[in-house]
Symmetry: C2
Subunit: 425 residues, 2 copies
């Protein structure tokens, strides 16, 4: 196969005819395939079924002297704090165990920034003329949406293979209106990058103009390797503390992709000063989150080593799916020189950069052929990709055979969109 860039106009026209026929044929199959969201597949859900019955009798519901069934323990069960502290590498008293959704905790903290301010806020953000938030992009659409929904101005920060472009971040935080940054430090969504040590050090050592500047550290994929062994990561709370910024970070994690996506347990971790401040606000909002589910997780996951062993079983299900996608891209697209991507070793996504100006069209074609993908642009603030190039592929939900069908359609569609562009159609 010759790269499209090296083909004559006639050759491209012939290729377009071939691809169009393939597209029509795919359409004729009336597929209904979904690579849109990072949802675990059924095999992963079935893997953890024992968690459903790990608490069966009244006496199972005791965590020491605490009855997990009754009201109380705002910040979570002690044993659950212990478990997550071990996984994240922080202290139990720095952990708040919430409900089933880390997004909910993130939203809540941003919302409290708006209505009450954070620990070092001169005033609630709703009383600021402008509030800006840094959004490394490509990034996670739901993060960006949270801050957008409160009317904040989203500032795009380029994502490098080492993490957010720190030159850009260091410059941006000189503006006192900039109140924070969204980060997915390990297996970033969607590119699967791991922040470098230098990036982490520079983030922790920031000297922002805003005294309440906050790193929203979404460690969603902290133990989510599907290729190779667990990759250790640094405790961001310690790094920030040692850099003289102990209260500058809230870290988030959940078991949504460890146990059950809709029925897991989410946590945030932060300095004890932040914790005391936030608990004073949270006690007005809720008496306690679901401690029975917290205890289910403690009994089922046991400790970090046991949890990592479970992640190996998830990995065995995930790896063939990522391989199917990456292999197809390497086979079908690489030789044509019309797209780029990287092959992550963890997380839930593959980030595909299509020929600039063709992402939207490629995804419209996918939709026409029955393959649902995350909307083009979703990985950028306000849902607008200035290059119309980035596409997030989520291979986790469909079984491998469906995934192979879906990625094959995807390859046809990105080729077709590229050809249309090259041929000026």
């Amino acid at each position: 196969m010759t790269a499209y860039a090296n083909r004559t106009a006639e050759q491209l026209r012939q290729e377009y005819e071939t691809v169009t026929r393939a597209f029509e044929e795919a359409k004729g199959r009336h597929l209904k395939l979904d690579m849109s969201r990072g949802k675990p597949g059924k095999a992963q859900l079935d893997l953890v079924s024992d968690i459903l019955t790990v608490l069966a009798k009244p006496e199972d519901c005791m965590d020491g002297s605490i009855d997990a069934r009754n009201y109380g323990e705002l910040s979570g069960l002690p044993s659950a704090k212990q478990l997550f502290a071990e996984i994240l590498g922080c202290k139990p008293q720095e952990i708040f165990v919430g409900g089933n959704a880390s997004l909910n905790l993130m939203y809540d903290i941003i919302s409290k920034g708006m209505t009450h301010g954070l620990l070092h806020s001169p005033r609630p953000w709703s009383q600021e003329k402008t509030v800006k938030f840094l959004c490394p992009a490509p990034g996670y659409d739901r993060h960006f949406k949270v801050t957008e929904s409160f009317g904040m101005e989203l500032i795009t920060i380029p994502m490098l293979e080492t993490g957010p472009d720190m030159d850009a971040v260091e410059k941006a935080v000189q503006d006192p209106a900039v109140k924070g940054i969204w980060c997915v430090p390990k297996y970033s969504n969607p590119q699967g990058y791991i922040y470098s040590d230098e990036t982490i050090d520079r983030l922790a050592a920031l000297k922002p103009a805003a005294p309440d500047f906050t790193i929203m550290w979404d460690n969603a994929y902290c133990i989510h390797e599907f290729d190779g062994d667990f990759v250790p990561f640094r405790d961001i709370l310690t790094v920030c503390r040692e850099a003289g910024n102990p209260d500058m970070v809230y870290e988030f994690a959940s078991t949504s992709k460890i146990t059950l996506p809709g029925a897991g347990v989410a946590v945030f971790a932060t300095s004890e000063a932040n914790m005391a401040y936030m608990c004073k606000l949270l006690t007005v909002e809720v008496i306690s989150y679901d401690k029975v589910n917290q205890l289910r997780h403690v009994r089922y996951l046991k400790d970090k080593a046991h949890t990592l062993a479970l992640m190996k079983k998830h990995a065995a299900i995930m790896k063939p799916k990522f391989d199917a996608v990456a292999d197809a891209l390497e086979r079908e697209i690489a030789p044509l020189g019309i797209g780029s991507w990287c092959r992550p070793k963890g997380g839930y996504f593959i980030s595909y950069d299509a020929m600039p100006g063709t992402a939207k069209r490629a995804l419209a074609l996918c939709k026409e052929a029955g393959v649902v993908m995350t909307g083009a642009g979703a990985t950028f603030p306000y849902g607008v990709d200035p290059d119309d190039s980035n596409i997030r592929i989520a291979p986790s939900l469909p079984p491998v055979e469906e995934l192979e069908a879906a990625i094959s359609v995807f390859c046809i569609c990105v080729r077709m969109a590229a050809l249309e562009k090259l041929l000026g159609k």
Copy 2:
């Protein structure tokens, strides 16, 4: 026994000596008793243990074609909406099924009023100069605290046996800064009153100056009779709709006192227009609440009739506790004419009105003798009871024998506080 009002100073002094001795004797027993919060007791938690294992296998987790374990279904499982719609008497599409805490849903709606405004808000409440909220008192401290925490001005509305004083409410809502009212319509917290039909009709027919005035209708004790049969109640959504105010109410309920207090399911019910508006805001905050727990509840509670049968079992545990408290008050206090209370047939509290100016002192004495009660004043906005008289008694947590010990100490303490007052000590 002679009422204190009819005793001579000398008789009162003698009584004071007797009571003081009884108090010292009680202190000597080093009690540790808790009548402070409406927590169900262990027998009630044990009653519902089957809910822990009602979902045991992957196939149990399917609700029709929906896998309760995975992400999705923001507004809740269809079967859970059906169950709560039947219990509350509204339509399934008017139900949003959330996490484990109705307080959390209430807070969230008030918070969104602040940051985004409600459906008919001219602007977010955070941009109003003043926001006021009506607080029928005695009432629920956590309600008042939510609105207080956002800096709202709390307006006390007297509670009558028929519900909030509607003359006062109708007058208050002429102020456009008044954005809502807290209501516990059935077995009100703490008095156990049921709003009369006239009160409900007048509430639904309000013509508030604020276009976004909202009734926060916390139907916490909707099926929580402990004495006698289920008392039917009107669907507030229908009453408001028929009065021409379809979007004026959010209703709340939960299974915290039906299944497990810390691991139940909470819902709000509201008009479809409000629902559409709120879901657009909620989708930024959470992908879905814990649907596995929702499905557990559906399978365990089945339907309204089956749920009411369960409530009869709770009632059998609760009634002896309320009887122990009310009987002791009638025996020890009624003849002395130093307090008043009523004997509710449902809910979780008995409201005791002590001799004015003695509630704080009585509770300080209780604490000294090892009996923890809800703080004096808690039932009023800002925690300040202008008469220093109202005390909320929560008999649900302790076993009957402990409760008898606790209420006996309580009676000694209210007598002692009254005598100190009468003797000018």
